[in-house]
C-alpha cells in the first residue's frame, strides 16, 4: 500500500467475474436463486411484523 487507501481493484475485478459467471448460469439455476432470495425476504418481513406486534403489545401493557 503506497497511498492513503488500499488498491481494491483485484476485489472489484473478482466481483465483476462473479457477476459474469452468474449471468452465464442456466436459467433454472437463476430461478432457484431468486426464489431463495424471495423466501428470505418474506421470512425477514414476517419476523419484522412479529417484532412490531410484540412491541405494540408491550407498549400497550406499559401504558
Amino acid at each position: 500500500m503506497t497511498g492513503k487507501y488500499p488498491d481494491i481493484s483485484d476485489i472489484l475485478a473478482r466481483k465483476e467475474a462473479a457477476r459474469r459467471e452468474k449471468s452465464a448460469w442456466p436459467f433454472q439455476r437463476k430461478v432457484e436463486a431468486v426464489e431463495r432470495m424471495r423466501e428470505r425476504v418474506q421470512s425477514m418481513r414476517a419476523a419484522r411484523e412479529r417484532q412490531r406486534k410484540r412491541q405494540s403489545l408491550l407498549d400497550q401493557r406499559l401504558r
Binding site: R19, W25, K30, V31, A33, V34
Partner: protein, 184 residues
C-alpha cells in the same frame, strides 16, 4: 409457487385467445440475460387481437384478462400484481411504438423446460432508459458492462424511438464511451 407454472398460464392465455401475444420484461427478462437479482413480481407486456378498445384506459383493457383468470381461480392481488401460481404478475398493455416493436421482436426461449416469450436485451435497455429510474439506469449499465446487447441493434432502436439524447446523457453521466457514435 414455481415460475414455470406461472408461465404455463400465460401460454394458455395465448392459446385461449385472451391475449394475442406476451413477452416477459422487467427484472425477470434481465435475469434471463444477466445475473439473478431479487424481484417479487413478473412484468408481462401484452397485446390483444381485439384492438377496438385500444383508446380505453389500461385498467379497463385488462378487464377480460382479469375475468378469464378469476374463472381459473386467480383473483388475489399482491400489491399491484395478480397472483398466478404464487407470483404476482403485472400485465402491461403495449403503450407506445417501442413497446409494440419490443413485443413483435421478442424471442421465444426455453425457461427451464417451459417455452416463453421474452424481450430482447436491446429493447430492455431502451425501455429502462425511457423509464429512467435509478434502478433502470443500473440495469442499462449492467447490460453494457457485460456486453449483453448487440451494439448496432441497440443504436438502431434508440434512434428509431427518439432516445438518442437520453442515451448521450446517460453515457456522459456514467463516463461510458457512446458506442452509437461509431455506428453509422
Amino acid at each position: 409457487m414455481a415460475l414455470s407454472d406461472t408461465i404455463l398460464v400465460l401460454n394458455q392465455m395465448v392459446a385461449d385467445g385472451v391475449i394475442r401475444q406476451y413477452a416477459i420484461g422487467g427484472a425477470w427478462a434481465a435475469i434471463y440475460y444477466a445475473e439473478p437479482v431479487m424481484t417479487e413480481d413478473l412484468d408481462v407486456l401484452i397485446s390483444f387481437d381485439d384492438v377496438s378498445g385500444a383508446d380505453r384506459p389500461g385498467l379497463v383493457l385488462l378487464t377480460p384478462i382479469l375475468t378469464y383468470l378469476a374463472a381459473k381461480g386467480y383473483s388475489d392481488f399482491q400489491k399491484e400484481g395478480l397472483s398466478i401460481e404464487g407470483w404476482p404478475v403485472q400485465f402491461l398493455p403495449v403503450a407506445d411504438a417501442l413497446d409494440a416493436e419490443a413485443l413483435e421482436q421478442a424471442q421465444q426461449v426455453d425457461l427451464g423446460g417451459v417455452s416463453a416469450w421474452i424481450l430482447r436485451p436491446e429493447h430492455l435497455v431502451a425501455t429502462a432508459l425511457k423509464v429512467g429510474r435509478a434502478k433502470d439506469l443500473v440495469r442499462v449499465a449492467q447490460f453494457l458492462e457485460q456486453e449483453l446487447v448487440e451494439t448496432d441493434r441497440l443504436c438502431t432502436v434508440l434512434k428509431k424511438h427518439g432516445l438518442s439524447e437520453e442515451w448521450s446523457t446517460f453515457c456522459v453521466g456514467t463516463g461510458m464511451r457512446n458506442p452509437c457514435r461509431d455506428v453509422s
